[in-house]
């Protein structure tokens, strides 16, 4: 197995799912180091599943994920945080220091660092507040402070702005852009296309199968979005065993080009639809026109 560059994530014929039913089906490609990638798709498209797979929460049904083994910071959509636990905001954020301090080293000398992280997310003066007293947005800010302290090279964010007001979202997006400027790899599952277009250079459009992957403006086309909505969310109890090639056979030669390929393809469509998606950014299907299917690596086999 080849080790990708630090910060890069290789997805090789990756199938992730639950109880043998795929939620992410035959995904191939590489998230390059330093990428700021938006993960887009309808509900049930497999965005959270893909992030869980990368972070190691669920095992792959098929294929593999190649990483160089560095730390990943992960902000889940449905966290398992017990907000009634009597813990201060300072302590919650300090958890981000685990990799550097482990179970025993003292936090005493780190207080200024933690306070600075809280200040960076606008939680000045909240240090001693119990976490149970924070509002949803304040809590999300505290979790971002913890991400800052984790200081990870790869950062995965699962719908980080759901239920968050515009001002907080703006602050946190600025933080994410700062991380991008520092060369960190960031993958964020998002629903707001306006936001994706404004801030995320590249996008992976998922609908269980990868629909398109490349520069954002070439991926978020009405044609691609219409295709994404059409792909069924249904869970077929009696689905047959997938007959498609296993990872690592036919894909092996082409897989490293997955992304370039997507770019090439997407350019064909990009310009003609630019106008439309600027004006209707929040709908998957702009109109019924069916374009030639975009590149799908799985079909190559």
């Amino acid at each position: 197995m080849t080790m990708p560059r630090p910060g890069a994530i290789g997805l090789r014929g990756l199938t992730l799912g639950y109880d043998r039913h795929p939620a992410v089906h035959h995904l191939d490609g590489t998230i390059p180091a330093g990428d700021l990638l938006a993960l887009v798709g309808p509900n049930g498209a497999g965005k959270s599943t893909l992030l869980k797979g990368i972070v190691g929460e669920i095992p792959a049904l098929d294929g593999r994920i190649e990483r160089s083994g560095e730390a990943i910071a992960y902000l889940p959509q449905a966290d398992e945080i017990d907000r009634t636990f009597p813990l201060s905001v300072l302590d919650l954020a300090s958890m981000g220091l685990w990799r550097r301090l482990g179970p025993w080293r003292s936090l005493l000398g780190r207080r200024s660092e933690v306070v600075a992280a809280l200040r960076a997310v606008g939680l000045d003066g909240f240090e001693d507040r119990p976490i149970g007293t924070l509002s949803g947005g304040q809590f999300q800010r505290a979790l971002f402070a913890r991400l800052i302290l984790q200081d990870a090279r790869v950062i995965l964010l699962d719908e980080p702005f759901t239920g968050i007001d515009a001002r907080t979202t703006g602050d946190l997006v600025a933080l994410i852009r700062g991380w991008h400027a520092e060369g960190r790899t960031i993958v964020a599952a998002l629903h707001d296309f306006g936001q994706v277009r404004a801030h995320f250079p590249s996008t992976l459009l998922l609908a269980r199968e990868p629909v398109a992957w490349g520069p954002t403006r070439t991926v978020l086309t009405p044609a691609n979005l219409a295709r994404a909505t059409r792909i069924s969310e249904a869970w077929d109890e009696n689905a047959a065993i997938c007959a498609r090639d296993h990872a690592g056979h036919a894909h092996a030669a082409a897989e490293d080009h997955a992304q370039d390929h997507a770019h090439d393809h997407a350019h064909d469509h990009a310009h003609s639809h630019h106008h439309q998606h600027d004006h209707a950014p929040h709908r998957y299907a702009e109109h019924g026109t069916v374009h030639a299917p975009p590149h799908r690596h799985g079909d190559a086999a």
Binding site: Y74, P86, W98, P103
Partner: protein
């Protein structure tokens, strides 16, 4: 008043021994109870106390009323149940409470079966209600040892244990410590229950673990206050319970637990953190 409180301990060696044993337990079981309560596993300790029974009974069958045999048996049975329940939880879809319920019921039934094989009703009562007024040197050493190990282990596990309680998913993504920490914590629960069953009996061992912890919730806001407060409550309950049982000629174990219960009820009324009386008055709200 003070005289009545102190006199029995000055006068009788067995009362002093009982006090020392209960104090040792008061410093180890309540902090464990605080974590159980915060993890919403309060009732889990009740289940574990039942799970200990077959081991203690087996020890009793083999060696009679022998402390080491019953302790080792109890530890073995408790740890086995905790480990099996933990393994089932982590490898199947069953939640921890369900898998623990399954194993503790099996264990309890086996324990009752073992006790009825030989012992009479009196033996069973002895196992269930403890021997706090007959603590010998070995029992005191055991209680002291358990308290020492518990406090050191809690200090060593404190940070990952708190993280495992607050945000287990986060701990999983940064470390593999979650599983071992959880099992180590369960082992501490079992150890303290075994210690408690020496002093108070299996049925009431849970009392000194949980009642002080729950009571402390009405007095302290965070862990740095909860743990000392729970120790204090437990110490007070032990003192009062022992005195009461001496003066009023009551069984010791229930007297101690009822004292802790009385402290709980009083705290529920007047405790500054969410006590009922504080809900009746509506203080003027603040500017911001």
């Amino acid at each position: 008043m003070i005289d009545a409180l102190v006199a029995p301990f000055l006068e009788f060696g067995f009362m002093r021994r009982a006090l020392v044993g209960c104090l040792a337990l008061s410093f180890s079981a309540p902090p464990v109870g605080v974590f159980l309560m915060l993890r919403r596993m309060s009732l889990m300790s009740e289940a574990m106390s039942h799970a200990i029974l077959p081991g203690a009974a087996a020890g009793f069958l083999v060696a009679g009323l022998s402390l080491p045999a019953m302790t080792l048996g109890g530890l073995a049975a408790g740890l086995t149940v905790a480990l099996l329940a933990g393994l089932v939880t982590r490898s199947t879809q069953l939640k921890e409470d369900a898998s623990l319920a399954a194993f503790y019921l099996i264990s309890l039934a086996a324990g009752v079966l073992l006790v009825s094989l030989r012992g009479s009703q009196i033996d069973l009562l002895h196992i269930l209600f403890g021997t706090v007024l007959a603590l010998d040197d070995a029992a005191l050493l055991l209680l002291g040892g358990i308290a020492t190990v518990t406090l050191f282990a809690l200090a060593a596990l404190y940070r990952p244990l708190v993280m495992e309680c607050v945000d287990p998913l986060f701990l999983r993504t940064v470390s593999r410590a979650g599983g071992p920490v959880h099992f180590a914590f369960l082992a501490l629960v079992v150890m303290n229950l075994v210690g408690g069953f020496q002093a108070l009996g299996t049925l009431l061992a849970v009392g000194l673990m949980l009642l002080p912890a729950i009571t402390a919730r009405f007095w302290a806001r965070d862990l740095s206050g909860l743990i000392p407060a729970s120790m204090l409550v437990s110490t007070l309950a032990s003192l009062t319970g022992l005195s009461l049982s001496y003066h009023a000629d009551l069984p010791t174990g229930p007297a101690i637990v009822l004292s802790a219960g009385a402290l709980y009820l009083a705290s529920m009324l007047v405790g500054p953190r969410g006590g009922l009386l504080y809900r009746l008055v509506r203080p003027r709200h603040l500017e911001a």
